[in-house]
């Protein structure tokens, strides 16, 4: 069989047969092309470039790029919890169990985890659903957290961070063609993993707006509006909630959660509760209520029927261990046949990283009062959360002193999402450049100050409004400088484009 030359390419000395590539922009999976992920999008790519330029000696009005774009605590200098690192070190190199370097409670946990690993090694594959004793510990943690409501370890699936679990559930839900195509309700603003996953799976994105005037709260009438509109062109099947919110930081009231559950029950929606920031609650009068707990306290009419998946991870809260890729989901009231499919689906990737599973185990099974490591642990944990709370408050305070910036209270999570008013001329220029106005703003901010934020357009926002997301993670003194610089930039930007 002869090759079919697609086109001829002339080189210096000869003609070369130029075969058509198998993978071109036209033959690529169209869903992959649609995927965007603002948190690591063009602005971050430019930030990386600038870092390289600085390293090469380029002169700029700043000496370093400050990455306030991604919720990565350790990258910003947050210290890990000593106990967790001790247990993980012991699990990695068990010979350390013989020495005197580590406290007994750390050793005990390491031994227990290693016993559950094939060949006593974290290098062995685990069961796809996760190491059994870890799932049991997670179940116990959930039970304690939720005031004794039983948790079955069989409903726990360990995962490679929460993102992996979220995508896995979405894969189960997305099906159908045309008007029957699965619709998934997501908040606006949202964490762009959701929009990226929905694009990747070819699902229909159903947007419900959080109420900026009311601290980004969720209003069920808005859910209803979005749903009714969506029913015209797709088959809504799932409702995603992020609580505490990303990027908004809002912490839902108990009443609100009940209303959402009732809505999901009425409208036959599968609830996905992203609760990775559950320990990051700062504001007075705010409290984390787990969806599961509220569900069960609403009685069997709901707790026996509403399908709910709750997600958690080791990347946030006070642990901040993004690099370990630890996480889990709890599936509640899932159809048994679907659960079988889920179990098969997770086996395709073999298993989640075992060090992440080990870390998750210690996170849900930390030192208890009386144990040797308890005092240090509690001190570190409290201090980390306290500092975050201070920074949350500081951020809100400073931004609200800037004319043209309004910032809702950062009730929880790790970000501020202030609204910025942009002069008409700036908006025009952005449009001319083919950029979203807040992208235009953030790019300028990056070039002039080295501060990397993510424009609100990456998360979704009401038409005609502009925002940016900034993490509260930089160390306090640095954060103060960053806030001051953003303030100055905003004032000069506003002046420049008036």
């Amino acid at each position: 069989q002869q090759c079919q030359p697609a086109l001829w390419k002339m080189t210096e000395n000869c003609f070369m047969h130029h075969r058509t590539k198998v993978l071109t922009i036209d033959t690529m999976n169209p869903n992959v092309k649609k995927v965007e992920y603002a948190v690591r999008g063009p602005i971050v790519q430019r930030a990386v470039q600038i870092e390289k330029e600085l390293k090469a000696g380029a002169k700029k009005p700043f000496s370093e790029v400050i990455r306030a774009n991604i919720g990565d605590a350790h990258a910003m200098g947050q210290r890990p919890i000593t106990f967790f690192r001790q247990v993980l070190a012991l699990c990695s190199y068990p010979e350390l169990l013989e020495g005197n370097e580590f406290p007994e409670d750390a050793k005990e946990r390491a031994r227990r985890i290693l016993q559950a690993c094939g060949g006593g090694s974290i290098g062995a594959y685990s069961a796809s659903q996760g190491i059994e004793c870890v799932r049991q510990d997670v179940a116990r943690y959930i039970q304690e957290r939720d005031g004794g409501i039983p948790c079955n370890p069989d409903n726990i699936y360990l995962s490679t961070g929460a993102s992996d679990a979220i995508v896995t559930i979405l894969k189960l839900l997305v099906c159908g063609e045309g008007r029957n195509r699965t619709g998934v309700m997501i908040p606006i603003p949202q964490y762009p993993l959701y929009s990226a996953a929905l694009a990747d799976l070819g699902a229909v994105q159903i947007e419900y707006y959080l109420d900026e005037e009311n601290c980004w709260s969720l209003d069920v009438s808005e859910l209803r509006r979005a749903l009714v509109a969506a029913q015209q062109h797709c088959s809504p099947r799932a409702l995603c909630i992020i609580n505490p919110g990303n990027p908004t930081g809002q912490v839902q009231s108990r009443q609100c959660i009940e209303d959402v559950i009732r809505f999901a029950a009425e409208e036959h929606l599968f609830l996905m509760a992203d609760e990775v920031y559950q320990d990051n609650v700062y504001a007075e009068g705010c409290e984390f209520h787990s969806f599961k707990k509220v569900l069960f306290e609403m009685g069997p009419e709901y707790s026996d029927t509403v399908e709910l998946v709750s997600f958690h991870s080791t990347s946030k809260c006070y642990m901040g261990e993004c690099g370990f890729r630890g996480g889990y989901m709890e599936v509640i009231n899932m159809d048994p046949d679907v659960k079988v499919q889920l179990t098969k689906l997770v086996s395709v990737r073999l298993c989640p990283p075992v060090p992440g599973q080990a870390l998750l185990d210690v996170v849900v099974n930390p030192p208890r009062p009386g144990e040797p490591s308890f005092n240090t642990y509690i001190k570190e944990r409290t201090s980390t959360l306290q500092v975050l709370a201070e920074k949350a408050w500081l951020t809100e305070e400073v931004f609200n002193t800037v004319p043209g910036i309004t910032c809702n209270p950062v009730q929880g999570a790790m970000y501020s999402f202030p609204r910025i008013s942009l002069p008409e001329r700036a908006i025009q220029q952005a449009k001319e450049k083919g950029q979203a106005p807040d992208m235009f703003y953030c790019m300028k901010l990056l070039e002039e100050t080295g501060i990397c934020l993510v424009p609100g357009s990456g998360f979704g926002q009401r038409e005609g409004t502009y925002h940016f997301r900034m993490t509260i993670l930089p160390p306090t003194d640095k954060l103060k400088i960053v806030l001051e610089k953003v303030k100055q930039f905003h004032q000069s930007f506003t002046q420049q484009y008036s």
């Binding site: 075969r19 012991l90 099906c175």
Partner: protein, 465 residues
């Protein structure tokens, strides 16, 4: 009463590939349970040699690897006198490469230092053929990497459905992955009588027949093979590359067992190296994805979940999209990347840790028992035996309503406490039956497995003669 709103929700997983393992594992749990209940069995413990998992099989992790990881996790260990200087140096270097100096940080695409190390490794392995960091994508294991690259290519339905040429036999996880993504599997049969080698005529046949029902675009090869252990000759690789060039196929070369060669005189040569030695007509045009991982080889670190794919000759128009798509999902555990760094840049002769970082030897291969045949491979981590089952056994299986090789394996488990993989899982020619044994285990364990297998096998032949 929950309404099954999810009927037809999900493309059906190929139960033909899943059921045997499920049955075996259910059976294994049943036996383990009955054992705890005091039921007497002629054996003390069930030996599970299904998985290509060296640590589960009793192989010890490499000290250097684990020490470096421990120090990176808990840098206070840098003060420990019992830890060798080269361990500390490596750990310090890796920590410097993690902004914030912590392994708790997200790492997009991979830590650049690790990527560079991978490039050097590839280049050295391939006699100087260049490798570039932007072509290296570090993922959570080779399965993850495979799914990532597959997803770039797989789409469409009906005649437009992307087809993937897949060897038979093949390990089942890959096939499940194809189903998950909605790709059409196009089987091509490896030649058992010829040591499981790949014949291009068979590729041609498979491709030709597939065109009537899908759009074949990918050619998946596993070298060294799983489950066969066959290592492709250079000539064979050249033939495959030529074929892929002619037929405009993207080659996926799964080379995770490249460091597990055991037969005297056998040698692994990479697809990339052969490609580049075939001259610019091929080396500038044929698209190749080459996969490797820390799960196999002397590392055996399956649980750390780290591997990479090198994408060669990607069309420039797609590079940006590929990178964006990758950035969205992929965060490979930092611990895994540390292991990868050591795999591609191990201690050298003269380094304090070098003596303990020696080659793990794969032990004696399985001798053929009467009524079996064995095409010994030269690499990989498995022995794949064909069972020549007596007619009476086939009839018995039919009566029991089960597959002959599943019946064989179930009885083996029941009577001797050995759990292995049923050939049906990998696909096999009609009327042939196989079993797969993981030989990446300690010598003692393997001897025990073979002893039990022989004992069972002879009894089985006797019973059904």
């Amino acid at each position: 009463m929950s309404q099954n709103r999810f009927q037809n929700l999900y493309p059906p997983m190929p139960s033909i590939f899943m059921a045997p393992t499920e049955i075996m594992y259910d059976a294994k749990h049943l036996f383990l349970f009955s054992h705890t209940q005091g039921v007497k069995k002629p054996y003390k413990e069930v030996i599970d040699i299904c998985w290509g998992d060296a640590h589960s099989g009793g192989t010890k992790p490499l000290t250097f690897v684990r020490q470096v990881i421990a120090v990176c996790i808990y840098p206070e260990l840098l003060q420990e006198t019992t830890i060798a200087p080269d361990v500390k140096e490596r750990a310090r270097r890796l920590l410097r490469e993690c902004p914030g100096g912590s392994v708790g940080k997200y790492c997009v695409c991979g830590i650049p230092f690790v990527q560079d190390g991978v490039c050097e490794f590839i280049s050295k392995r391939d006699g100087g053929v260049p490798s570039y960091p932007e072509d290296i994508f570090i993922c959570s294991g080779s399965q993850n990497a495979l799914m990532f690259v597959l997803k770039l290519l797989v789409h469409g339905k009906g005649l437009a459905q992307t087809g993937v040429l897949t060897p038979i036999p093949c390990y089942p996880t890959f096939v499940m992955g194809l189903t998950e993504l909605g790709a059409a599997m196009v089987p091509y049969y490896l030649c058992e009588d010829d040591g499981w080698c790949l014949h291009v005529e068979e590729l041609r046949r498979a491709l030709a027949t597939s065109r009537s029902h899908c759009n074949p675009r990918i050619l998946y090869v596993i070298n060294p093979g799983n489950p066969t252990g066959h290592v492709q000759s250079r000539e064979s690789i050249e033939e495959v590359i030529r074929f892929a060039a002619e037929e405009e196929l993207f080659i996926f070369a799964d080379e995770v067992y490249q460091d597990m060669m055991y037969a005297e005189g056998s040698q692994f040569v990479s697809y990339k190296k052969v490609l580049f030695e075939m001259g610019p007509q091929y080396s500038n045009t044929v698209e190749l994805a080459s996969f490797h991982s820390v799960s196999k080889g002397i590392m055996g670190e399956c649980g750390l979940r780290c591997g990479y794919v090198e994408l060669v000759n990607l069309d420039p128009s797609v590079k940006q999209s590929v990178t964006s798509a990758f950035n969205t999902e992929r965060n490979t555990a930092v611990i895994g990347q540390i292991a990868l760094n050591i795999m591609v840049d191990p201690p050298k002769p003269g380094d304090p840790s070098y003596p303990t970082f020696s080659q793990v030897s794969l032990h004696e291969t399985v001798e053929a028992l009467p009524g079996t045949s064995f095409q010994a491979g030269s690499g990989g981590i498995y022995a794949y035996l064909r069972l020549d089952l007596p007619q009476k056994a086939l009839l018995q299986a039919k009566e029991e309503g089960t597959d002959p090789d599943l019946m064989y394996c179930s009885r083996l488990l029941e009577e001797e406490g050995v759990c292995l993989v049923v050939g049906k899982e990998h696909g096999q020619q009609e009327g042939t039956y196989h079993i797969r044994i993981c030989i990446g285990t300690t010598s003692t364990r393997l001897k025990e497995v073979l002893r039990r297998l022989k004992s069972f096998h002879l009894r089985f032949l006797n019973e059904f003669s």
